[in-house]
Symmetry: C2
Subunit: 412 residues, 2 copies
């Protein structure tokens, strides 16, 4: 299995001002393509640091993927570092020049005064087409290691990797057959997701891990070697079986909101929202899904008692008696939203995001979710989230969408 | 200036399944505390890799900060690696045991069968109190380098760093005086933020950089050495002067939504929202701010034409004539929201998030934002965002909040 090291460059990343999403993306893609990622390293823009790490990583890995530092400015030094380490000169490369010129022609922008730097390539190395931007990537070698320089902007990095790096890199082979699978779950904490699949998680092959992510938990399965796909699929099926209705999806990009929109669309139903504690986040998650308008026409953010009463018809007496954060008010919100929709399903959410308890002493983290469905009794569930305000709102919104998902599944 | 290396551990991070937010946070804190971060490295859970990197980094930096691998399971190997590299045994430490016991007492949870592992500390090293969790940190030395092991969960990592690491680490001194400042801006692309402060950005001291972040742009100023605070403040003042009303805040945690809530609270005004393309995101951003209920009582998500007409009184004829994504409809939405609030300010947003144009051929990325303010003419602005659906919705929401901010500023 070829080994891969990732080298991220730039002071913005090194000093933590820019989150290193490039490294995560590359690491996952490389892993799922059958490579073994051995280390991810970030250094600044200094040419000595770049050269030292490039040299070191090239002796440890079959392939080094470098991101950043391919821009036109004096701070962009990765091509210089690669030339230095390989012991060659930078030369003006007509193919690289064509990549730069092509970008400026397409975008109708004017090249900057130092743009010519982007046409420099270490002698004997190969410029890589950049479908999304001006900086050509570079493919070369340091000793026996393949080295790829990729631009820093994430969209450019991804497109150069997919279009130019992957084919060349695959020629490195033989790669192990690799199969990656994911099971997204909602409604159970990580420990409850892990318990029924413990035996798989203890096994060495395929590797199985649980990864909490913003209120959902992913189970990731990675099989390698001959028959990988069949082994991964067997564990996938067993995981789905073991986790039952906690399973939201088995597609990387399909999260709880996608599952809810798909279930609604399948059944031809329309949902509406009535949100207090999440202040619009449930609705916002629904409209993250392209085509959400088929199943979502609108919703209400009812942050005050007055809005709950005036817009949803929640009885003032109930608000006074039980308080806005109560099962009864959650239920009345959902019923009111369903009545006034028009909608087939209404989800309501009320709670205390904190910091601290609300003015009736209801503790931070207590959240009620209600789902009203035409022709069915309204259901209310309570949750207690022990995280700060913003992740709490996110988890509460996931709980609300999960309540809708489960109500729809119960329809059969 | 002491040098710091950061070592992140664990296959989840190495393979890109977990974004390495810990490293970013530590790198920024270390930089702002006056250290020079030299490299950030991620390796897996294998003890050989851990030991090799720990040894290498300890010869290159004055301090190594390690995150992850302090849990109770067999995969948690950083304490073993530290003992190996330091050439000492792991011993049961009564102080570490007290940290673990204390956690289980406070949380009323039951320790797992391998929890005793968390009371192990390399002989002669010091356990660190963990205010937020069960895993004690560890402080020790490898050669001349100070090494700190920190737990992986971000809240625990941060609290152990602040409470236990920072005081010990400062004793490492002398640290350069360091002063970090930030200016958050909205309403101008990065190039327009950079242009008026170009001279500062070219200077070596303080360093000044622009960092786009989710629709806002941060200007970060970092001064080092004697007189750092005064130099940073001078550049801060000049930056604020140069960027004028693009400046949203000069506090790290105060983003556009905090600025809007503060401006409303100062003026005793209440805002309401009417969202189409952002589907509740503007409201959600407002309620991210603790105490948002002083200035926000509720809002509407009006995703369909019917909701726009029925809930906001947008004339059907106008919707038919201009289409939902138009300046006139945006204005009518804001006016309708202001009328029905009750509120002093209403912000409305409509647009095409894509992928692709809407069914009237309005192109993806076109967004209209309207602000209605009691006693003032309603203002509408158009934007064109060239990013995919989800970042587009985020940028559109920032544009909507920025329109409110500018309208409030114009009140004087």
């Amino acid at each position: 299995m070829p080994s891969v090291a990732i080298l991220s460059t730039g002071y913005e990343v090194l000093r933590g001002y820019t989150l290193n999403t490039n490294a995560s993306w590359l690491a996952r893609r490389a892993t799922e393509c059958g490579a073994r990622v051995t280390s991810v390293v970030t250094v600044g823009d200094g040419i000595e640091d770049l050269a030292r790490e490039l040299r070191r990583l090239a002796t440890h890995a079959d392939c080094v993927l470098v991101t950043g530092g391919l821009g036109p400015t004096e701070d962009d030094r990765t091509r210089d570092a690669l030339a230095l380490v390989a012991g060659v000169h930078l030369v003006k490369d007509p193919r690289a020049r064509a990549v730069v010129d092509d970008y400026f022609r397409r975008s109708a922008r004017k090249p900057g005064p130092t743009q010519w730097r982007q046409a420099l390539v270490p002698e004997g190395m190969e410029p890589l087409r950049n479908p999304e931007g001006t900086a050509p990537g570079i493919a070369g070698r340091v000793g026996s290691a393949l080295v790829f320089l990729l631009p820093g902007p994430p969209r450019e990095m991804r497109s150069v990797f997919e279009a130019e790096v992957l084919p060349r890199w695959r020629a490195l082979g033989p790669f192990d057959e690799t199969a990656a699978r994911v099971v997204w779950t909602a409604g159970a904490p990580e420990s409850d997701v892990a318990r029924p699949i413990e035996a798989y998680m203890r096994a060495d092959e395929p590797t199985v891990g649980t990864h909490p992510d913003d209120g959902e938990v992913a189970v990731r399965i990675l099989a390698r070697g001959p028959g990988a796909a069949a082994r991964a699929d067997a564990v996938l099926a067993a995981t789905c079986q073991a986790l039952g209705d906690h399973v939201v999806s088995i597609e990387e990009e399909a999260r709880i909101q996608h599952a809810v929109v798909a279930l609604l669309a399948q059944r031809g139903l329309v949902v509406t929202t009535a949100e207090s504690v999440t202040g619009g986040l449930v609705a916002r998650m629904l409209v993250e899904v392209p085509g959400a308008s088929r199943v979502f026409r609108g919703g209400l953010v009812v942050y005050s008692d007055r809005w709950k009463a005036a817009r949803l018809g929640v009885p003032e007496a109930l608000l006074a008696r039980d308080g806005a954060v109560s099962a009864a008010v959650a239920g009345a919100m959902a019923d009111g939203a369903l009545r006034s929709g028009p909608a087939d399903v209404a989800v309501a959410i009320t709670g205390v995001a904190g910091p601290g308890p609300d003015d009736r002493g209801v503790p931070e983290g207590l959240v009620f979710v209600a789902v009203a469905l035409t022709g069915h009794p309204t259901r209310v569930a309570s949750h207690r989230f022990a995280v700060p305000r913003i992740p709490l709102q996110r988890r509460a919104a996931v709980a609300a969408l999960d309540a809708v998902r489960r109500a729809l599944l119960a329809l059969g």
